[in-house]
């Protein structure tokens, strides 16, 4: 089923996305590395570490799979904190919620708080995303 498209008005403050668990498959990480032009043997071995920006992007992917923001929405800022390395093949869980909604100079914005946990329950990454959203529903 395709993800539901949400507008600014659809998002309630504090709304929690359903948590999503996913495995960082070698081919998924490899596709990411190819896209950003980051290569080398260190990223391709069986005990390789997932680049932290890939962890962030794939966490967001797991959220996009459930809910997608209205077309034309743009990311305005991104804070990330990398807390622990994650190996290729590990299964992680992503949790996110709407932390803030605000309107400035006619632009509607939402802050999404994000955290990723490893299988042991340790937080491996935290993030905060500010997105400018269009009102128009498609």
């Amino acid at each position: 089923m395709p993800p539901k498209t949400v507008t600014y008005e659809d998002l309630n403050l504090g709304f929690e996305f359903p948590s999503s668990a996913y495995t960082l498959e070698p081919q998924t990480v490899a596709a990411y590395l190819k896209a950003v032009g980051e290569g080398g043997e260190a990223e391709s071995g069986p005990t390789a570490v997932v680049p932290p920006a890939a962890l962030a992007a794939l966490a967001m992917r797991s959220l996009i799979a459930q809910l997608t923001l209205s077309p034309g929405s743009v990311q305005l800022s991104q804070d990330l904190e990398f807390l622990r390395p994650v190996a290729v093949g590990e299964t992680v869980t992503c949790r996110a919620y709407v932390g803030k909604k605000q309107e400035r100079a006619g632009l509607k914005m939402a802050v999404f708080e994000l955290a990723v946990f490893n299988a042991a329950g340790d937080k491996v990454m935290a993030g905060r995303t500010l997105v400018g959203m269009l009102e128009k529903k498609v």
Binding site: A31, A35, V36, M60, F82, P85
Partner: protein
């Protein structure tokens, strides 16, 4: 990391339509502003633009190569997206050392991040910190 931390880091990347398409597939982010020429032409950007997270990935790659494990388990990024990166742009990403910052009693090396296109227009800026 051994020795003194560098005062300046730099990395150059080329933005291509193919890289944007590959990033959309890898990230699952098919926002039409990145992949639909007709849609993007009608937006204030006037054409497709790269995902902001691509530039963030370039900056993280630069820090990861320099600081290794310290970046993986003690890196912080505070990024503002300032302008679009378009297919054909050559991006120059730089990090300039600033005074250290202490967060919750822990000392971090701090770098000012800048990413510009070949017209010297800002694409992203911000700060990157790494625990020492």
């Amino acid at each position: 990391m051994t020795g003194e931390p560098p005062d300046r880091l730099t990395l150059t990347k080329q933005v291509t339509k193919e890289a944007i398409r590959l990033y959309a597939e890898a990230s699952g982010d098919f926002n039409p502003i990145h992949v639909d020429e007709a849609f993007a032409a009608k937006t204030p950007f006037g054409g497709i633009i790269a995902h902001g997270m691509m530039m963030l990935a370039y900056a993280s790659e630069m820090m990861g190569k320099q600081f290794g494990e310290s970046w993986l388990s003690g890196g912080i990024m505070r990024i503002k997206f300032k302008g679009p990166a378009r297919p054909g742009d050559t991006l120059t990403i730089t990090a300039e050392k600033q005074d250290d910052e202490v967060i919750s009693g822990k000392r971090y090396l701090k770098y000012a991040l800048a990413c510009q296109n070949d017209k010297q227009l800002p694409v992203i800026d911000g700060q990157m910190l790494v625990a020492v």
